[in-house]
Structures are given as structure tokens and as C-alpha cells.
Symmetry: C2
Subunit: 333 residues, 2 copies
Amino acid sequence: MKKLINDPDDVVVEALHGIEAAQPDLRVDHQHKIIYRGDTPKQGKVGIISGGGSGHEPLHGGFVGLGMLDAACAGEMFTSPVPEQMQAATKLVDGGAGVLHVVKNYTGDVMNFEMAAELAAAETGARVVSVVTDDDVAVQDSTWTAGRRGVGVTVLLEKIAGAAAEQGRDLDQVAEVAGKVNANGRSMGVALTSCTVPAAGKPTFELGEGEMEVGVGIHGEPGRERLPLAPASDIAAMLVEPILADLPFTKGDPVIAFVNGLGGTPLIELYVMFNEVNKILGGHGVPIARSLVGSYITSLDMAGASITLLKVDDELLSLWDAPVNTSALRWGI
Amino acid sequence: MKKLINDPDDVVVEALHGIEAAQPDLRVDHQHKIIYRGDTPKQGKVGIISGGGSGHEPLHGGFVGLGMLDAACAGEMFTSPVPEQMQAATKLVDGGAGVLHVVKNYTGDVMNFEMAAELAAAETGARVVSVVTDDDVAVQDSTWTAGRRGVGVTVLLEKIAGAAAEQGRDLDQVAEVAGKVNANGRSMGVALTSCTVPAAGKPTFELGEGEMEVGVGIHGEPGRERLPLAPASDIAAMLVEPILADLPFTKGDPVIAFVNGLGGTPLIELYVMFNEVNKILGGHGVPIARSLVGSYITSLDMAGASITLLKVDDELLSLWDAPVNTSALRWGI
């Protein structure tokens, strides 16, 4: 295992200290492992929190800031945060207009966020609504999931729901737009290598020199099939076609096209992939209204990529374009 | 070799098509492999171009946009662009106020940019001034370098000089501020793994499972010494102390602290490193005025990081804070 770390058990704690030192607009509650906006709570604004296992950075802490999340809870590596963390975060961001929980569909996360919502309601009377993302078309159920896994759509949802909250929409309206994003987005990923969890010290799974895992999950969960390594054009088709078939994306419907790196893949390869995605979508008559290319929801040091397509209308596009000021996504500010 | 590519010889060309499709504010001259601003040239504004071998993305194409570069020339992988490319880019961005060439100190780059400046002057009478970055304290001369290598300071210089040009400063003034950045910035890097150039198909150098290369160059050039893999705290000290000793950074002088990933290292490790850098600088009484954490000057899929410290005064800080709107750095817009 070759990593820039100290004790494998201290990676999350130390990274939180690093974030606190590097990002002056953010605060960190080290007891509860919560990254939050320095100006939260905002009276009358719906608060939005998310969280999940660490190892997917910049998700979620890199998306805390104006126009996106109010707070993010960091779990241990690839492990859901505990309910007390989300409970504390809910209290922290509640400005009287209620709190949206953004939850990726993994069994532990769903259960813990549910319990946190109940605890928060009992403690302070906070009104909480949850949205669960389940956009990964690769498999129906998975190692840690009943139903589809929540992956790349989570990034787009946090941006769009964050903009809706910033506009002053009420909790039901923010939850509605969040649900609309999840309903209209689909994703699929591919791994060229495994990742290595620091405390494990060895790769999560074995993958031969000439192999790739198509439909991989963000914790290295098995995908649809293990295939011989293929050119980027073939890989892009293996990911985009099932996405297009699933929703379906109809000719002329504009999309946000998101090509995401899994942590160990350099940017130049993501642009090669984007070029392929662009050609495939062009062939289907699906116009790209906006794009996002980079490593935003990762799996530690895994080499590979995922593709997310979100079908958008004028409402979603204008929320996407609204100002955002986080360490990982920033524009219009 | 496991990469998301098609033919290894087509990576640069296809990535340029991907950038063009993903970034609507940018234009690409495919004949000359130039990425440029859609609104260039701006009459009366000093034009700024840079360029170098591909494989270091987002450097330089990701830094084209308002407040930074006007154009970037993409060479073949780890190979300087040819003079005709910089000549064409110079012509493209010259709004009558002259053009600054930002050149990393590698023999081929320096020679080709010099020739391009002469060709441009002969062709259109363009006035060109060059600034050469040579901030890497690791080694005095290197595989492809007479003198020190140009590395992380290049990113900070392109941002700061870009802001100076945007303010309407003249060519000598923009060149002066660029020189000031190079004079006050120092860097050093470490590799945990080699990178693999696509056309070579195998790692550039061999590094044992328990080894790291301290002082590595961005093309995998040898550094100061090969050592057993160490904790992040030790690695940070091995990089920061020589930087501090070289300039020197005096107690109380504020710095921009830049922790950079080399392409295959995930963000969470960079924050662990930033935490160590913050502690070391605190111990020396060197305050961090601004920070940058991410993969901005990379070496394909190399795992590792580099650290850059730039001593700043009020002028450099205010130029750093000025609006920038590129695909890789964006704020204040």
C-alpha cells in the first residue's frame, strides 16, 4: 500500500484538520466529524445536509458552502456516519425552515439517516425530509444495497437542491426538486483497478492486468461483468447505452453530462472519455446542455470513471447555473 | 498499462476534442493544438500564453480563461510544443499590447518558446516578453533541464500574471509581476509510483513496493534520493524544510501554500498532507494567507504530491484574489 498518510486509523481525522486549515469559509466539528458553513444556520433558509463514508472526496465535504450543502458528516472509510453525527448536523443547520437529508442508497446510510431524523425531531422538533439517491443502473441490488446504489447523481442533486434552498423555497419544494433530479438522472461506472482501504492495507478486490470491472460500485462492489480491457470508445458505449436505455433519454431532451474520475485516473483520460460520450450522445440526438468533467465522487485511489446523465428542463438548468461557492464546485460568485 | 484511452498516439488529439465539447467558453485550434479563449484577442490587454508537454493536465489548458491564460499550446506527451504552435498562439492573443510567454524551465520548452518569439516578431511585429519558471529546489540540473525545473509555481504565476493583465497593466509590468512570483516561490515533489506514458506502455521508471522518490520531476526525472516509504508527516518535512531553507521564508512572511496531487493520488491524501504542511509552517511562524489543494500540475497517473510555497505581499495577494474563470480555477466571478 502506497499512500500519503500516517496511521491508517487517523486518515479521516487528519484530513478533516487539513480541510479546516485550508478552507477558511468552513468550520469543522471534530467531535462529530461534521464540516459546516461558517454562516450556518441561516434563519428562514432550508438547511441541507449530507454525509456518508469517507474515501469519496470531494463528496460530501467539498460541496459545503453557499448554494450547495450546509453541512456534511464524514463516516469512517467506506462506512456510514452514525446517527448522532447527522442529528448534530441537523441541529447545526436548522434555521427554522426545516432540513433536507441527502442520502445515498446504501443500507447503513439509509438506516442511520432515518434514525437521525427521528432523534432530531424528538430533540428539537426539527422538521426533516429525506431524499435517497439510487441512480446506478449497473445492478438492481448490491453488496450493501437493497435497490440501486446512489452514485454520481448525488453531486448534481446537492448542487441543484442547494440552489433551490438558497432561493428561499420551502422544505417541500426543495425536496420536490431533489426528487426530480434523482428521477431524471442515471449513472454507471467502470474500474480499471481496485482501491485500497488504508486500514485493510491491500486491494479491496483482485483485477487482472488485462481486466476491467464494468458497473463497479464506489466501494469496489462487483458490477455487471468483468471484461477484457477495451478502448475508451467501447467503454463509453458500455456505460452510456444502458443509461440511455434506462430512463429513457428521448431525442432532443437536453442533459447535463458528467464524466467523473474515481480517484486514481488523471484528467486527460476523463477528457478522452468525454469526447466519446459526446459522440455517442450526438448519435442519439441527445444535446449536452452543460457538462462536468473531473473527480467529484471517488473511490480512494481506484482507477476508472463513471458517467452520469441528468435530463434537464429550464428549471433544473437555471438551478444548475445559479451561484455556488464550495471548495470543489464554484461559479457565479 | 490500464488507461481510459483509444490508440495511445491519439490521446492528446482526442482530449482536445473532449475539452472543446465540454468547455463552451473555449475554442480549440486543432491544427496547432491550441486551446484559447473565445473572446481573445482583447484590444489593449496584454495576451498571456503558455504551453508544454501534455500529461500535466489541467496545466495549461485548464487555466485558459478570464483572469489567467489567453491560450495554451499542447505538446505531445511530455514533449515541448513546436515553435509554430507558440507562434500561432502569440498571433491569436495579441491585442496590440504585446504577449507574455510563460515557460517552464526545460531545455526543449525554453528553446522552442525563444524561437517562437522570434518568428512572431518577424511575422507580425508582435512584442513578446518571456518569463521562465524554475522553482523546483530538488536538484540543480536534471534530465531535461539546465538549472532548476519549473513546476508548481507555474500555476500560481499564471493566475497572478493573468490578473495583472486583466487589470490593464502593460507588458513590462505584467512580466515584472510574473518574475516576482517566480523569485518568491519554491517547490518540491515526491513520487510513490511511476507514471506510464501511453505510447511507451510501461512505467517510466521502476520504484519498489516500499520505496519513494523524493524530489521527483514532473516527467519522472530522478530526484534527490530514493528512500523507504515514510509517514505523511515525515514526507511533508522532507519537502517543506528544503523549500523554507532555500528562499528563505522568514518568520511572519505570509505564504500561499499549494499542495498538489500528481494525478494518481486522491484528494483525501492531499488534505492529510496539507494538515502536516500547516503544522510545519506553524512551527516556523510562517502564516498561510491562502491555500490551494488539488491536482493542478500532474504527471499522468503518478501517485504522489508536490508542495509549493509562494511568499506574498499585498500586491500578490490581491492579484491572487482577483476574479478568475477557467475550467480548473474559478472564483470571484
